[in-house]
Symmetry: C2
Subunit: 369 residues, 2 copies
Amino acid sequence: MQKITPWEVEGDIDYSKLIKEFGTSPISDPLLKRIKKHTKELHFMLTRKIFFSHRDFNWLLDEYEKNNKFFLYTGRAPSGDIHLGHLVPWIFTKWLQDKFNVELLFQFPDEEKVVFKKDLTFEDTEKFTKENMLDIIALGFNPKKTKFLIDTKHANLMYKPAMQVAKKITFSTVKATFGLNNQSNLGQIFYTSMQAVPAFLPSILKKKNIPCLIPLAIDQDAHFRVSRDVIPKLGYYKPAIIHSMFLPSLLGPKGKMSSSSEQDTIYTTDSPSTVESKIKKYAFSGGKPTLAEHRKKGGNPDIDVSFQYLRMLFEPDNKKLSKIYNDYKSGSLLTSELKEILIKKINTFLKKHQQKRELAKKQVNKFIL
Amino acid sequence: MQKITPWEVEGDIDYSKLIKEFGTSPISDPLLKRIKKHTKELHFMLTRKIFFSHRDFNWLLDEYEKNNKFFLYTGRAPSGDIHLGHLVPWIFTKWLQDKFNVELLFQFPDEEKVVFKKDLTFEDTEKFTKENMLDIIALGFNPKKTKFLIDTKHANLMYKPAMQVAKKITFSTVKATFGLNNQSNLGQIFYTSMQAVPAFLPSILKKKNIPCLIPLAIDQDAHFRVSRDVIPKLGYYKPAIIHSMFLPSLLGPKGKMSSSSEQDTIYTTDSPSTVESKIKKYAFSGGKPTLAEHRKKGGNPDIDVSFQYLRMLFEPDNKKLSKIYNDYKSGSLLTSELKEILIKKINTFLKKHQQKRELAKKQVNKFIL
């Protein structure tokens, strides 16, 4: 059983099943080759298939090769603090921005979670928007080519096109796609119309049709399954999409890291000792119950969360990653040692990130559309 | 059979049945007395019960008498040209503004009809918004106390509070209230949230709770049956409402004047000869089939559309109206003579209105919030 909507990810995730269910295309080796022609090198999230699926990426490259440059669109619903899981698509988005030298529209749908979470208010999302922006700026997006779009702040730009989208989507469709029902509130029902808008807003503002590429975690695909049918009816290109897997929760390889519990999440503002203690206490291990057994039979890196974090985020070097994989599998690397490697990696990353996050406080205004 | 929603008025309208169905209160003589205490005189639309029903008007006066002044909120969905039927609530709203010396927020929900009418676009509503504003300004609203609010233009102010409203209304509720269904589009479903906002927007902007009075035609009541439950949950006063009847179509006393056919409608921009020919050709008559029979048995002013237009809009003088009523009933006044009286009245009104409409072109910017 798997249940994947923009608001719920439950059960074992079978990514190849998702490709079939959602009707997307797997990232193939010929596509990687084609991307590499333009980027010179491939990000490890591509070669390791962390970004594993896409829609119309080949069309996007056709256009790019005809000198019809795309822009990037991704976003963050500001309803809590940023954790490592959030960073996966954004780090890759920055890489795309750098390699293709393109603009990025970064949406903060500050109303989305307000209508989906009973107790969340606009006061909360305003605070989280400010905090979350710091993390995004800290990742190093090009300030000249990156614009933040905040739904309630930029409603003058967004509401009219959102209503044009809304006109073309029935309740039946959102019921089927998002699992909404008669008890859903009008904000929940309407919201997907707003999420569609950034995919063609630059085309409106610049008065010419510009291709769009949306890097996102696969749970957000539902919005674009709906709006990719609508956007061409308004006269704009169907956006292309590239989908990432979820960073697993600390507690196990199933499901995704989420802010619902402190125990399964490492925040970007966690101190080195907090990181150390969370990893040591909670990071699900693929190791054997006893030292002797581990040495003898070896561990299972494929289900070991610490290994997965290295693979998905913190060890870009394939050779080093391979060695860790093999050592752990053979039993020569212990769980405690593997965790030490990860703790060091995360803390090195977070130290720099937190410094850049501080510096970001002075840069926020430059980024807001 | 009667069907009254904000988008459809069908069948014989039984106004006393609507009071029961919608759970409103009739305008009573004690209430009229109480209003007169403040306004010195009573508008004929009150004494003739053209405004026939209300919600919480007594509460509004309680607050007014405690020096807690209200503001007025009414509006116009810009989807066509203005006809005489539109003027009924606005002429009365202007009277309220003058007599109580209060502010008016006039909403132009330029997205509403776009999502309800298949072929209507934002290009159309933009044009109609500009045109319709001229008619409203021409009615003489106080430019210092009247502000126009255009949904897509003022979405920065409106979208966030609309989402707070939307969070508190389920699909079941709009299904039951507006007759929407699974094939309704997301814009239709969401829209009522935007119509709620002007009832408390001044309270947000001025950071204090201000009572609101909404004069409207009874078909718009549905929106506020829903939002009057929601607005207090956001911390604002439940708006008071006063309801008008519909000006009948030229073609008969049932239903309302609407822009759906040229034949049943007199527009504010019609020429004197157009008015004359429409009244002569189409105005439904309460007279008898032959002159002889009319002279002998008399006509029926209660179903005569020309008489109704005089009663509802064009003959404020009770004595003169009474005489016309009696003369028509007795048969001494013929249908052709009654029509002549009305044609003269309408053309006198429209001549001035069209002059003021021209002058209004230079005033529009003063009115926009």
